[in-house]
Amino acid sequence: MESQANKLAFNDGWQYAPAPESTDHIRIDEKYDLFIGGEFVAPEEGRYFETINPANEKTLSSVALANEADIDRAVKAARKAYNGPWSKMKASERGKYIFRIARMLQERAREFATIETLDGGKPIRESRDIDIPLAAAHFFYYAGWADKLAYAFPGRDTRSLGVAAQIIPWNFPLLMASWKIAPALACGNTVVLKPAETTPLTAMKLAELIQDAGLPPGVVNIVTGAGATGATMVNHPDVDKIAFTGSTSVGRIIRKSLAGTNKKYTLELGGKAANVIFEDAAIDQAVEGIINGIFFNQGHVCCAGSRLLVQESVADEVIDKLRERMETLIIGDPMDKNTDIGAINSAEQLETIQSYLKIGQDEGAEMYQSSCDVPGSGYWCRPTIFTGVSQSNRIVQEEIFGPVLAIQTFRTLEEGLTKANNTPYGLSGGVWTDKGAKIFKMTQSMRAGVIWANTFNKFDPTSPFGGYKESGVGREGGLHGLDAYVKVEV
């Protein structure tokens, strides 16, 4: 092909000098206790665990390991706050506290962004431009709902649930905390929240902020620990609601342990989204959408467009352009303002990703990685695409949660649609075509909770998010996200 002969060169010549975000404005304590009842309290057993910077493997801080007694203490504090001020407070006043959190987050945004990137490995550009502003926006959006719930459920009264136990993942730590806490509080519930064990720091900074905001003690409690701590929360008898974001396998375990209880639950689980590119699409923007779909946040995104389905007549062109675009992605120090792709969140996740790279190659798929250098220490994975795969390949079927794209082709709309829906997951999907009728045909027929047409990986507090099938139960965000935190009276 001619295009092979006319390759563009991006690697020599003018380069961007390092542009690191400074850390002189942030404060990370050596050790964080549990935030319970408005106070920072030491864990009962006095055990702590370290959290590291995945970009250089250096220890950032230590956080408390909460045991059953600690969780009980947190649930009791939440119950007390629920019975006490929170459920009795005038809804508009409750809303004002949540507004206050939103504003304080905006004021401290730079510190939160910096710590999010240090603790989780995501590029500072993303935590600065996406995670933290969206987190603040979530609080701002739900704050306004507090005294307007009657308008959200036509013909019905609602009441709050009580104490919500919320367990969040490591891919969007503060953003997921805001997705969980904001609607819970707006609906009059109190909260015990556990951040993921590899990314606890922004949650602890949020605890400080909530303390500074003067929320009544116990309305928000933040505890740290690993899976066992989460299980203790799920199984605590005085919890009324479980909100979990994480893998489908853990979601299943949670549902089984909730069976026989009256606890309400919402689950945001895994995904294996198809991004479907038709021949009549705006190809350049589609390529950008593919890049954004799979390489955003190192691919640590449950709704990532990890399956590319491209119509055969444009497949070569799309794949050539994709490879070329991959060459311009800057991978490296997440604190550098020019970094596009940061560090893999943990050694464990890197191992998972690498095992899938091996599986893909062993299954006979052709692997292509961008040629960039990666730093010596820390956890890294080059942007990766696989071609020559089919529905039968494991890398097409299973969630990898890394910067790894499986590319398939299709010939007709029906074939593309069938392949897109041929998965137990149903969180998100993408479709790219310039033809309006085809967009609606596809967006209606794809069995997933969020469909991006001629765009991808967009999020907004007003926009409900959540999956069909094994991708979860319930919605978060928007008007529909209120449902998760109220009982609709008959």
């Binding site: 002969a5 563009l8 010549g13 003018w14 380069q15 961007y16 705006a282 350049d284 959408g289």
Partner: protein, 308 residues
């Protein structure tokens, strides 16, 4: 300069089959370029590169030989107190001023560019447009900046526009041809893309956004779409085409973001004055102020930089 065989116009492709452009997607991509943080040595290098790419321009009805000579003086002596500055790429004037500029610039390596073809509207007969082109070349223009017939383009008479560009290209002889699309009058990015493809196939050496007389003039989204068209044309034909955003770029920081966009879209091969130009009248001084600031660490005042 050795005379190389110029690629002749190829056939006009079916412009209706050109890939569509999504405006929101383009804007998002452009916003990403603008988040790039260019600091320290990479900033100095970029600023100097920007200077070297400037077509220092005066295109006013009130232009006089005196004004043009002053501009040429500025082109030669950008800011002598700063060492190691490149010179600008060209001085861009009306055809009647080409001889003045040619004499003022001598053979310092600064090109003379002339607008032609009834600039800025292009509303004249082909005969006159070709005559004007030939005159400017005879007067010593190294480069011709022509305008396309936007009316014909918008009414779908692509062959008319194509043939006109090809004819002007022929009239240019050895002079380089820049084709101004006047994107501010084309309405949509899809049209920008189509006009770019048309102009390149008709033989353009450069494609250029604007005359500077219509708002909006150059924007990053429009330039991005044109760069993408250049890229695809190169990969299809093997021929490199240059890019010139013109009008509205007066801040050094914005110019540097254009370079970021250029680098990440077309790569290093295009990062020279041979393949990229800024059409601007006030950009140079802002770049010079930034360079002075980088050299001294002190923020600058416009009073210390000559305005010609």
């Amino acid at each position: 300069m050795s005379v190389i065989a110029l690629p002749i116009a190829s056939a006009l492709p079916d412009l209706k089959r050109i890939t569509p452009v999504d405006e929101v997607g383009v804007n998002e991509r452009v916003a990403r370029f603008q988040t790039r943080s260019i600091k320290k040595e990479s900033k100095i290098e970029a600023l100097k590169t920007v200077l070297s790419m400037i077509d220092l321009t005066t295109l006013e009805g009130q232009d006089t030989p005196g004004k043009v000579r002053q501009l040429c003086q500025k082109a030669i002596h950008l800011h002598d107190s700063l060492p190691d500055l490149p010179h600008v790429a060209a001085v861009c004037v009306y055809p009647t001023m080409v001889g003045i500029a040619r004499a003022a610039l001598g053979d310092r390596g600064i090109n003379v560019a002339s607008v032609a073809t009834a600039f800025p509207s292009g509303m004249s007969s082909r005969k006159i447009k070709l005559e004007e082109t030939r005159t400017a070349v005879e007067e010593g223009a190294d480069e011709i900046d022509m305008v396309i017939s936007r009316g014909a383009f918008l009414q779908g008479d692509y062959h008319f526009v194509f043939d006109e560009i090809a004819a002007v290209k022929e009239a240019c002889g050895d002079a380089h041809l820049k084709v101004i699309l006047e994107t501010g009058e084309l309405g949509t990015l899809d049209h920008v893309r189509r006009a770019s493809v048309l102009a390149m196939h008709a033989g353009a050496d450069f494609i250029k956004t604007s005359t500077g007389k219509i708002q909006p003039a150059a924007t990053m989204p429009v330039t991005f779409v044109m760069l993408k068209a250049i890229k695809d044309f190169y990969q299809e034909t093997g021929r490199m085409v240059g890019m010139k955003p013109a009008g509205g770029i007066s801040a050094a920081k914005l110019a540097v973001h254009y370079l970021v966009m250029l680098r990440e879209t077309l790569g290093n091969a295009w990062m020279t004055p041979e393949w990229f130009r800024f059409g601007a009248s006030s950009l140079a001084n802002d770049v010079l102020m930034q360079l002075q600031k980088q050299a001294t660490g002190v923020y600058q005042s416009a009073d210390y930089f000559s305005k010609d």
